[in-house]
Amino acid sequence: MATVSATGVGVKPWSLGEGTSFGTRVKDLGPGAFVAATFIGSGDIATGGTAGGAFGFGYWWAYWVTCATAWFCLDVVSRYYLVTGKAGVSMFRSIPKIGWFLALFIGLFGVYYGVGNVTSQFSASAWAVTGVFPQMDYVLAAGIVAVLCMALIWIGNYAILDKVMSLMLVAIIGSFFAAAFATGVNLADAARGMIPAGDPAGGFSNNFQAIAGTNINGAAVLLFAYTLMERGNRPEDLKGQARFLSFARSNALLGSFGAVLVSFALLGVINQVIYPYGIIPRKPEDFAILIEPVAGPWAIPIFSLGVLAASLSSALGNGMIGAYVTCEYFLNKPVKSNNIHFKIVYIVNAVIAGVIVMVKIDPIFLKTITSMMNASFFGVVGLVLAYWAGSSKLGYFRNGSSIPLWALTILTIVVAGYVGVFNLGGYFGLKF
């Protein structure tokens, strides 16, 4: 049973003014880097290509809006964890009356992330490996990627995983910014992209769905609580919890707005190289071959390295959330990455994903589906998180009278409602 921390009873929300210094916050951004590396996957590249190819920097504002929503979701997950000491599935299972159904929904999506999403990321990773090592066979590359991920999970050392994910985040940002430097970035266009404008091609709905689907990955949101839990230093007293939240919020900032940073580089490249010709790149390979003529022959390995880091980190992160959620769903308690059932779930799911990858499905379909699934998932996750944000059960950490928190709650409800209706409605034959 989830218990609300008694230490917050009777204390006005957000009245303590406890926090940590900026320097202390940026010293430890491990959980944020973990989540950011999971958030940024091959779907970001496909989505950026579609939105950027159609409208240059025109959709950059949508990245800011969806990443603000993602930050808020990570914040609510942190607050729930601080108050109850529990993570993902518990947030759904403890909703009155429909908790069992929401938990089943999360259980299904946990398995989807462990298999379907990881399939997509393995596939993109394998293509990226063949971009860096042209003579390597695709199937061999996919096998190496899958075995590498399974080996890292089998070791079961969270500190190692944390370092690997941070390193890959640096590689992602470095690689895409290198491509952006090479092609040049039009800062004036970027600034104009911050202001919403009509898409002349009329593709707003589809592009916004795709951007929301990649930037507010419901699984990565839930992953945040597990990464905080893995660290195991949740304070028991209210002041300590308030300080911990400021640390968690800084990490959430990196976790969510890391995608904005990467989108700046990606859209910058597209805006310079691709958008003027009306070409819509859909796959990482499209990007590589479009950038190469302008950026030079080194572009393919450099860009492929970024795609590899993005895909590999997402294969690890999304597969892990799949295993965390599946274990918590069936065991009624969260587990850590050194738990044997966690390892078995990840590895068996990854083996199934690896088999699907061997079929050599066109990665674009996998990425389209991944974005669609993420958006569908967020339709439910966002609404449940909004419920908890306003719930008095969060005690001191409830929204209370904080206007910014309520504004973000409303934004989350609007975005989750929109993408949820759009995507879930599609399964029932509704067209928009």
Binding site: V111, F181, A182, D286
Partner: protein, 196 residues
Amino acid sequence: MSRGRLLAVLIALVLSLAVVPTAFASGTDVKVGDVEATVYAPSVVWQATNSHVVVKLVNRGSKPATVEGLFKFPEGKDNQFTYGTKSPNTAPKDGDTKTLKDLKPGESKYIAFTYITPKGNAQLGMYTANLTLKVDGASQTIPWTFDIRTGAVFIAQTDSIVYMIYAVSAAMLVFWFAYFKLFVNKKFNILAGEEA
């Protein structure tokens, strides 16, 4: 990371954007009559993956010019490719022509041959296509040599993949239900909620 170091990294990022924006830019430059042309084309193309040839044209002369671009697929191998996005997208044996009229002095414009796509079963290896640019009486042919590599093999419809992924996920959920219920947590109840 200390505040000073973080600030230094941020400043370096901003400066990099401003100082080295086009340091690696490249392309094949030719001059045809009074028109300078830069041809951008990839050196690696994957099976079933689109590629594009983009030509930037600048008129350095004193009077308007008409530029005609003829793109020809590798000789005798046009059947290895599709071209364009409209059906039928058979690659034309005689190539495709794009004409840019009235390119004013000092003006810069582009022509592009887009969606040049090796078929899924295209033979791997090196190919050479040709682009010929004509300006008034002058003419230049620029070879485009590229390497076709293995690409996606199974190109299915989105719906079929969605259903396959759903089916596999549902099957795995049943598998994990059996695993946990039989061997790990026999008390698991699918209908049980949790009190907050």
